[in-house]
């Protein structure tokens, strides 16, 4: 029963990793941009949620209504003002620009909020759990987060393959020059993709904040978790991203069960194993 519990916890945390990964994957998919500051923006959103809940006296759920749109606007502006100018043949400029942002955010948060770790209280739901029978119980909060992660993946899937915006995303991704010829404004489309990715960052940030302690240095590891989930699942496959997140979560929780020091290490090793035996990821790229 112990091990079943370990597996279950791993699967549930995998949902959160899938949310981290979806934003990363979205930006890469549409404009070939790897956002090195992805994890730092997640932590930034977590702090934003902390400030919003404390200053307005509202709960984390209400904070979502503020944090998610704020992050989306930030993403849109960031893409238009800075990131669009870094895009091109060369992969170095976008990488360097987001690396610079990462260092600025990390140290900025450190100056503003000190290195102490924080947590966002979520009230009664934090300790509520469902009895699954046989001594197995799951927290309501992790379960709710996992359900939201699945919904997010479904919503993204629908958006990508059923809406005009999704078509615009895929068109600019396939061939930016031709997309422009048929009347798409690439700069705007890219900015919308980043806005959407940043909305996911906002969501992930709040989920992170209520789930565990966070501090300004946490960003890079969240970036790596998201990245690993993307690669394990297979680039360009949203369901793969969820499966990648789950595999990573399970590997981490098995590692943690064996020795607390092995939690993160086990996840990284699982990633390297997938890279060694199936570098294209577990699921194939979706062909539209």
């Amino acid at each position: 029963m112990d091990w079943l519990n370990v597996l279950l916890q791993g699967v549930l945390i995998g949902g959160l990793y899938a949310i981290f990964a979806a934003g990363l994957s979205l930006m890469f998919g549409v404009m070939r941009l790897v956002n090195v500051a992805h994890g730092d923006f997640i932590v930034l959103a977590a702090y934003l949620a902390l400030v919003v809940t404390q200053s307005l006296g509202i709960g984390p759920l209400m904070a979502l209504v503020i944090v998610v749109p704020v992050m989306a606007v930030l993403g849109y502006v960031l893409q238009r003002v800075l990131l669009n100018r870094s895009l091109g043949e060369d992969i170095l400029p976008p990488l360097l620009v987001t690396f610079g942002l990462s260092v600025i955010i990390q140290n900025g948060l450190l100056e503003l909020f000190t290195p102490d770790s924080r947590k966002l209280g979520a009230g009664a739901i934090e300790t509520a759990s469902l009895d699954m029978g046989g001594g197995l119980s799951v927290g309501v909060l992790p379960l709710a987060q996992f359900a939201v992660a699945c919904l997010v993946i479904v919503a993204l899937q629908l958006l990508f393959y059923r809406t005009a915006l999704g078509r615009a995303f895929r068109a600019t991704s396939d061939d930016p020059a031709t997309a422009q010829l048929v009347g798409l404004d690439n700069d705007h489309v890219f900015a919308l993709a980043t806005a959407l990715a940043f909305a996911l960052i906002g969501l992930g940030g709040i989920f992170l904040a209520v789930r565990s302690n966070f501090d300004p240095s946490l960003g890079p590891s969240r970036l790596l978790f998201g990245f690993e989930a993307v690669i394990i699942g297979g680039l360009g496959n949203l369901w793969g991203t969820l499966i990648g997140g789950i595999i990573l979560g399970v590997a981490q929780s098995i590692g943690a069960k064996l020795d607390p020091g092995w939690q993160t290490l086990a996840g990284h090793v699982a990633f390297m194993i997938v890279l060694a035996i199936r570098p294209q990821g577990l699921l194939p790229k979706v062909q539209a």
Binding site: F28, R32, L33, V34, V36, L82, R85, S86, D90, I91, L92, P93, P94, L95, L96, V97, F99, G100, L101, S102, V103, I104, Q106, N107, G108, L110, E111, P220, S221, L223, L224, F227, E228, I231, G261, W262, T264, L265, H268, V269, F271, M272, L275, A276, P279
Partner: protein, 335 residues
């Protein structure tokens, strides 16, 4: 009528620059005679950063392997030095080349895995590798686990009986390593391999169709840079006499700052990183009282330079005053 033609690399400016550089290098050998302890330490730190920035530039600017995980090799080198000195009784100075050999040895399987990732994904993958090494180092209890370890007095005393002797030795080692790294990269770039490397940098497809074995070339550069980065790491932590996983595999210290230096100075030119390192140390001394402000400013400066002048400040200088201080291209001249 026909002219006798010949190919040359040197220019008159570069000859003067080479002589000046030689004189400066000789002058630096005697720095312990007229510098205090602190200045020596600062100089050694600057040399280490020039090494790291030059090596990263070789990797990203020439071989197209943009890595954000070079802290893997800095930390590995440091840990190999401590392990060799603490458990095998190797003298710390001799442990530096040992660290280099290990760096190359680890770089081979690392490349086998990481080369499966393309472009930006290679970058993040290399970071994962560094994290794995950091977490593994934290598990090795004989090297202090997560809190790290120090070189005991007996080993330190064996290097040199007084502090001054040791400081001078460490300083000369750092200088020797700098000369090794600079001359190795310069001769690489001027060699046949260097020509192939630049061809790959310009257009990988065209280089491949001209018979260049792109993969082998990239592998060679990755392994060579891994070895020299490990030696630099060993040097850095020998100087500190103390190592811990968080310090050894620190992404900000050994990669972010290094990349910013290289980008601000100018990637794809040997002289660029040198300029970037000097700007960094200038900013750090100047803003010493403001905590991490210099780091944020350095990051912001790197972003601005990347957007407005992708060839860096040295590239800007060259636009204004064309010169060849360290030429690597051949030109045809009348003889």
């Amino acid at each position: 009528m026909t002219h006798q033609m010949r190919t040359v690399v040197a220019t008159s400016t570069s000859r003067i620059a080479a002589v000046l550089l030689g004189l400066v290098a000789i002058g630096l050998v005697f720095a312990p005679d007229f510098c205090d302890r602190q200045t020596l330490h600062l100089l050694a730190e600057i040399y280490a950063y020039i090494c790291l920035a030059t090596l990263w530039n070789l990797l990203a600017g020439y071989a197209g392997l943009v890595s954000v995980g070079q802290q893997a090799y800095v930390g590995l080198g440091g840990y190999i030095l401590f392990a060799a000195a603490l458990h095998l009784g190797v003298s710390p100075l001799w442990a530096i080349p040992v660290a280099g050999a290990f760096g190359a040895l680890i770089a081979l399987p690392a490349a086998a895995l990481l080369f499966r990732l393309r472009g930006a994904y290679f970058a993040i993958g290399s970071w994962v590798l560094a994290e794995i090494m950091r977490l593994v180092a934290a598990q090795v209890s004989t090297l202090g686990g997560g809190s790290g370890t120090s070189l005991p007095a007996s080993i330190v005393l064996a290097v040199g009986s007084t502090r001054q002797v040791r400081d001078n030795l460490f300083y000369w080692c750092a200088l020797a390593l700098l000369v090794l790294v600079i001359s190795a990269s310069y001769s690489l770039l001027r060699s046949r391999l260097g020509l192939a490397l630049r061809a790959v940098g310009d257009n990988e497809m065209a280089a491949r169709s001209n018979g260049i074995r792109v993969l082998g070339l990239k592998l060679a550069v990755y392994v060579g840079v891994g070895a020299l980065t490990s030696m630099t790491g060993a040097m850095i932590f020998l100087q500190r006499l103390r190592i811990s996983p968080d310090a050894a595999f620190n992404v900000n210290d050994w990669t972010a700052i290094v990349i910013f230096m290289a980008v601000i100075g100018g990637i794809g030119r040997l002289e660029g990183p040198l300029l970037g390192v000097l700007i960094f140390f200038g900013m750090r001394q100047w803003l010493a009282d403001y905590g991490t402000l210099y780091l944020m400013l350095l990051g912001a400066l790197a972003v601005v330079v990347m957007i407005t002048a992708p060839r860096g400040l040295y590239g800007k200088i060259l636009e204004r005053w064309p010169m060849e201080l360290a030429p690597i291209r051949m030109r045809v001249e009348k003889s």
